[in-house]
């Protein structure tokens, strides 16, 4: 480590100072100006994004990107994910404004916790050492537990926080136990050193148990079946902007460490873990999509749908190729854009805390707000993977990667389940266009409309013209997947 390394931590340092400032400001007597909390947060995110881009430009070669005794990587992969996280948290910030207008809860601590969670996610994107990955993960998780229970006088919210906390900490403990076994066998916590040690190892029980426990902990974090039971309850009980945060940014961060650990650290034992993960992926797709059909509450429906999407994302990790990595990156962008748009639409219907959450509330939306109805159709088509939208590109990459790597049967399940998912997505479309509407009011908040328009623009632009995204993704994927491709299953 050299003292010059600190330059690359500037985004995280800025974010931490900003998060503390958000906590201190209301104490100085600025509490009245609730609007300014949002703009401070947006400003903070903008500065962080600029810092991420600037600091990444000083890194040119592979060796130079490994900082702090190879604990922290600033490479194209981490920068890609960091910018996604910052954009997603910015959208969540914009969505939250309307939700807090008549509320008894202070927005300052809320934004501060969001900033701390984002800081954890930035460390997760950059972590190439199990300690830095774990600390980042816990910073994100602890902030999320509090945020899930932010409506502290609501029973639902507190209950969601409790369930999330208990299952989240247990999964962290399981993850840690797996990490400790891997450390014992490989003699290091550094992903690159683990990879080097594994290339000389043959399969042994302690290592397999370690990898399985690690995978189980990570599957919990991305909400994959059979570790998904917390998802519907937490998504339903948490304040809606936080549900949006958990189902997008938080899940993307977990996928980032999942990809990094398995592609960089555990690639030599791919044959051993890929079938376990393939089962998990198949289960997630089947359980998530089938259970979503029976839901009437839109938050629970989207929770089950997000379990299904975790399954699709796992396809990219299982296939262990550059194509698979590209699929993960493209699909993350596509999924985040469509999901954030849908959550913005749900918030638009919510006049106060838990109203406007049923599928019936969408009835007749096209007469009340043609823009939102059209945007919703596009988001739902994108989640279903229908061609004019970006969702098709993402699914194409993931399914192609799965077939290339010999997981044809998994691709078939994925295609079938995509068809099933269209069934309940279309239920919302039918409610919006073919059913008589109630006279419920629709929020006209400018920031919600902005989020909807931005997500719609991303979903349509990358659907029609995916080249800029693909080019970026090819560079980012190479940083993580290049060696995986060069030595497939070496040491076996």
């Amino acid at each position: 480590m050299t003292s010059g390394d600190i330059v690359f931590l500037v985004p995280e340092i800025i974010l931490t100072i900003g998060a503390c400032a958000l906590l201190v400001f209301p104490v100085l007597g600025k509490r009245a100006a609730a609007q300014s909390a949002k703009w401070m947060m947006i400003g903070l995110l903008a500065i962080t994004a600029i810092a991420v881009i600037v600091s990444s430009h000083t890194v040119t070669d592979f060796a130079q990107s490994r900082l702090f005794a190879t604990m922290f990587a600033v490479d194209s992969f981490s920068v890609f994910f960091k910018l996604i996280f910052i954009a997603a948290v910015a959208m969540v910030t914009l969505m939250s404004e309307d939700y807090f207008r008549d509320s008894r809860y202070s927005p300052w601590e809320y934004y501060s916790l969001l900033a701390f969670a984002l800081c954890g996610m930035l460390f997760m994107a950059s972590g190439i050492h199990l300690i830095s990955i774990y600390v980042g993960l816990e910073l994100m998780s602890l902030s999320s537990y509090i945020l899930a229970g932010y409506y502290k006088s609501e029973q639902k919210s507190t209950e969601a926080a409790m369930k999330y906390f208990v299952l989240g900490t247990v999964s962290s403990a399981i993850l840690l136990y797996g990490m400790s076994l891997i450390y014992g066998v490989c003699g290091s916590l550094n992903l690159i050193a683990i990879d080097r040690a594994m290339s000389t190892l043959i399969t042994n029980d302690a290592l397999m148990l370690g990898i399985l426990l690690l995978a189980a902990g990570l599957c919990f974090k991305i909400a994959a079946a059979p570790f998904h039971v917390w998802t519907p309850d937490v998504y339903e009980g948490a304040p809606t902007p936080i549900t949006a945060f958990l189902s997008t940014a938080s899940k993307a961060a977990a996928i980032a460490i999942f990809a990094r650990i398995f592609y960089v650290g555990l690639q030599h034992f791919q044959l051993d873990w890929s079938f376990v993960l393939a089962t998990v992926a198949a289960l997630s797709m089947i359980v998530g999509n089938l259970a979503a059909i029976t839901q009437d509450n839109i938050k629970r429906m989207l929770a089950y749908s997000s379990i299904g999407h975790a399954g699709y994302l796992l396809l990219g990790i299982i296939s262990m190729s550059e194509m698979g990595m590209r699929g993960v990156l493209v699909y993350t962008v596509v999924y985040l854009a469509a999901t954030l748009g849908i959550w913005a639409a749900v918030l638009m219907l919510q006049q106060h805390e838990y109203a406007g959450e049923q599928v019936e509330d969408f009835q007749g939306l096209h007469t009340r707000s043609p823009f939102w109805a059209f945007a919703m159709v596009m988001f739902l088509l994108s989640l279903g993977g229908i061609p004019p939208t970006a969702g098709f590109i993402g699914k194409y990459y993931l399914f192609a990667a799965a077939i290339q790597s010999g997981f044809g049967w998994l691709a078939i399940i994925a295609v079938l389940m995509s068809a099933v998912s269209m069934f309940y997505y279309l239920r919302i479309v039918v409610a919006m266009y073919l059913r008589e509407g109630k006279d419920a009011q629709v929020s006209t908040a400018g920031s919600l409309r902005f989020v909807g328009a931005a997500c719609l623009a991303i979903t349509l632009f990358f659907g029609i013209l995916p080249t800029p995204l693909i080019r970026q993704v090819e560079t980012s994927a190479r940083w993580v997947a290049a060696r995986a491709v060069a030595v497939p299953n070496a040491g076996r």
Binding site: I146, T158, F165, Y183
Partner: protein, 104 residues
């Protein structure tokens, strides 16, 4: 492959036992405070594991990890207790079964 000496194996057995007790405690106990204690037990089982390996491998990394885990476990306990207190204020009970507004 590293051969595990008897002394290290004993530590691993202790750690595995503690971890299992913690996991079973989380699953069968209905009192939130006990659940929280069981989670701490699981984290400390991991710590024993890491220290045993660290000693065996003569590598400091494991012990550094333990210090991080202890610090984070303290934060976790604080957040967990805050959530339990809030639950108690709303329901006058810290029983997990009382929390059933969300049907899951």
């Amino acid at each position: 492959m590293i051969e595990v000496a008897p002394s290290t194996a004993a530590y691993l057995m202790l750690s595995a036992t503690l971890f299992s007790i913690g996991l079973v405690g989380v699953v069968i106990r209905r009192n939130m405070i006990t659940v929280l204690m069981s989670i701490e037990l699981m984290l400390n089982a991991v710590n024993i594991n890491l220290i045993a390996f660290s000693h065996r491998l003569s590598s400091l990394e494991g012990q550094i990890f333990v210090i991080f885990i202890i610090a984070i476990a303290a934060g976790e306990a604080a957040v967990g207790l805050a959530i339990i207190i809030q639950l108690y204020r709303l329901k006058s009970s810290v029983n997990v079964d009382e929390a059933k507004v969300l049907n899951g």
